[in-house]
């Protein structure tokens, strides 16, 4: 491939290791279920498809998050972007529900992008502020008269129906994945994201409109979060306060476990995909094993650390 990010070997390592780890998780879970109930439901297509279905919401958020992380930025507003998009979508209802939700995401992305690219406030802090503004808006929104919160039939269809026996949410995730992967790899915008993420000043002096690239990336992230929020509302059949909260940290973790450099510039989409599956399965297996919260947190942290330690061998920080 002529235009891959270089040094495929180190880039492939995360995918291979993460994939292997997914197998380890499944084996541990299966050993557990075999010993406690004498069956191996984790290996059944039903269970796996369901994991992919619930994973698709995280997957879509993580896809957007990855684009922003490739720039060396981060989007901490995805939690309430999801919620706001879902709540506005159900409030509006009808056929305009989904477009409204997506528009909310795009608008949030524009605000984030404006703050980060034009005002040059660090994304870590600007998106945090936007997140709390969104939360405030949603509290105020419910604080007036309680809005309609039921998902529209189309939202339900997208998120919880099945098509050819496969949950339709997986198709949506797949579609988003294809779009993001092609965008990153085959479009000028995608390459400009990598270039800007590597060294913004050099990108700027190369005549790349880096501010628009940043703005665009935050819009992508906002739209992805909004889509995930709308889908999640479809899955739960309703939108509610705080519904996006459980997604922020896993999304970041998935991107990083997938081998994307947290400082930007390097990473492949396929890694994020694998990272999402890993996180979803890990959570699910821990839940099945009825692991108490304390153990769950410790395992979660240790997994991330140990995987990164395995990937990171040999990348010296100096120079």
């Amino acid at each position: 491939m002529a235009f891959d990010i270089p040094s495929l070997k180190t880039e492939d390592k995360p995918m291979v290791i993460a994939s292997a780890f997914i197998l380890v998780i499944l084996s541990i879970g299966t050993v557990y279920t075999l010993s406690t109930q004498g069956s191996a439901p984790l290996l059944s297509p039903g269970y796996l498809l369901q994991q992919l279905q619930t994973g698709s919401f995280l997957g879509i958020v993580a896809a957007g998050m990855m684009v922003v992380i490739l720039l060396g930025h981060i989007d901490l507003s995805v939690a309430w972007t999801m919620t706001a998009a879902a709540m506005m979508a159900t409030t509006v209802g009808g056929e305009w529900a989904i477009p409204t939700g997506i528009a909310v995401g795009a608008a949030v992305g524009l605000v984030n992008g404006f703050g980060v690219a034009y005002l040059r406030v660090p994304s870590m802090i600007f998106t945090l502020g936007v997140d709390s503004v969104l939360r405030g808006l949603m509290v105020a929104h419910t604080g007036g008269f309680a809005p309609q919160d039921s998902a529209t039939p189309l939202m339900r269809t997208l998120a919880s129906d099945r098509f050819l026996g496969i949950p339709s949410a997986i198709f949506v995730w797949l579609a988003v994945s294809v779009v993001i992967a092609v965008m990153l790899k085959r479009t000028a915008f995608g390459r400009e994201i990598y270039v800007t993420g590597n060294r913004e000043v050099a990108a700027y002096l190369s005549g790349i409109r880096t501010r628009r690239v940043i703005l665009g990336s935050f819009v992508v992230s906002g739209i992805c979060a909004a889509l995930a929020g709308v889908m999640l509302a479809g899955y739960s059949a309703r939108a509610y306060q705080g519904m996006g909260n459980p997604f922020l940290l896993p999304a970041i973790a998935a991107v990083v476990i997938g081998g994307t450099r947290i400082l930007g510039g390097q990473g492949r989409y396929i890694g994020t995909l694998i990272g999402v599956i890993l996180i979803v399965l890990l959570n699910s297996v821990l839940s099945i094993m009825q692991m108490p919260e304390a153990g769950r947190q410790v395992i979660y942290g240790s997994v991330i650390i140990s995987m990164l330690l395995v990937y990171g061998r040999g990348n010296k920080v100096h120079s």
Partner: protein, 354 residues
């Protein structure tokens, strides 16, 4: 306050927790009073409904004249900020402070200051592990027991005496979660049937609950009953999506959950709904004012559990089929003169209120 002997004022409203409950009395103050509500976390439906109820109750004719100044602040899950806010209101000369504690412990200092300044501090909902303040709550342990007993009774009626029960827990580390879970588990244990308890953590959140219930179903196949502490909409959704047959379900008081029970009880969704009511805030406010008026008050006020089973659900009365799923149906407590119904403050438009 002084520890006095009972009975207290208006026992229909301010019921003592049990026979051992102490009684307290504050020096009478002349009204109208300055009252503050110090909330912790804001950003879920329950808290929003609670705040709206508080605002509405402060405007209620029964209270309006007694309240000179009324403030609500939300400090987030930040113990020092909440303690600081309470202390600030004490320093500002407020007469009563109603609060949902972010932690069941750690209020010693503000309790001491409140007592020193004759300020009535009333924790409710998430109450404190202390008997030094007047508190208002529903009995969480009893709630757990009732849920479990209901499920057991329904199963017995079907002739089932053993099987798998799914317990959906709430926020780890929270005392409410702990008490409810103890109630549930001790009841099943005491029953003598052969019950296998599978427990998952749903954080009282619809989405999380739905996911963990779906996972549990995928792994365990089928359950004979589900006892969920919260996120009941999520429980129902997961059962429906998995094509799980309807079984007895115990849960909270979300409108959506009650709608589902009403709709599917004939198909086997034998449900019980017991709510932790956002209306507790109104009782806490009323108790605070009553204490300021010099009445004898129980230290721990037990608000009756608002129970509704599939047998007694009635559209337009204890659930509303045309209203959104997310609000909590139980909001009013007629014995206390708290008549702010869920729909009246959580309705979609001005028209729905009427």
């Amino acid at each position: 306050p002084e520890i006095v002997s009972g009975p207290g004022v208006d026992p229909a409203c301010f019921a003592p927790w049990n026979a051992d409950t102490k009684y307290m009395q504050w020096p009478t103050k002349a009204g109208p009073y300055k009252v503050a509500v110090v909330n912790g976390f804001v950003g879920n439906g329950w808290r929003i409904q609670m705040i709206k109820t508080a605002k509405a109750f402060a405007e209620d004719p029964a209270m309006k004249d007694k309240i000179a100044e009324f403030k609500v602040v939300s400090t987030g899950t930040d113990a020092p900020a909440q303690l600081g806010a309470i202390e600030d209101f004490i320093n500002q000369g407020y007469d009563a402070i109603v609060t949902i504690a972010v932690s069941p412990d750690g209020f010693d200092r503000v309790i001491r200051l409140a007592d020193k300044n004759n300020v009535v501090l009333v924790p409710f909902d998430n109450v404190l592990d202390t008997d030094k303040v007047m508190q208002v709550n529903e009995d969480q342990l009893k709630m757990g027991r009732m849920w479990a007993q209901f499920a057991l009774d329904e199963l017995k009626a079907k002739g089932v005496t053993s099987g798998k029960i799914l317990e959906v827990r709430g926020l780890p580390g929270n005392s409410v979660d702990r008490d409810r879970s103890i109630g549930i588990n001790e009841t099943f244990k005491a029953d003598g049937g052969n019950w296998e308890m599978v427990s998952v953590v749903g954080n009282w959140d619809d989405g999380t609950t739905q996911k963990v219930v779906a996972d549990a179903i995928a792994v365990h196949g089928q359950f004979d009953a589900v006892v969920g502490q919260g996120g009941s909409n999520g429980v129902i959704q997961a059962l429906m999506d998995a094509g799980h047959p309807w079984v007895p379900v115990a849960g909270e008081s979300e409108n959506g959950y009650r709608k589902a029970i009403a709709k599917y009880s004939d198909e086997g969704l034998k449900g019980i709904s017991i709510g932790q009511s956002p209306g507790l805030v109104a009782i806490a406010m009323k108790a605070a004012v009553s204490a300021l008026e010099g009445n004898v008050m129980p230290q721990l006020i037990s608000v009756p559990l608002p129970v509704a089973t599939y047998k007694d659900l009635e559209d337009g009365k204890n659930y509303w089929s045309d209203l959104p799923d997310n609000f909590f149906t139980v909001n009013e407590f007629p014995p206390c003169g708290v008549n702010i119904s869920g729909p009246s403050i959580m309705a979609q438009s001005e028209a729905d209120v009427k």
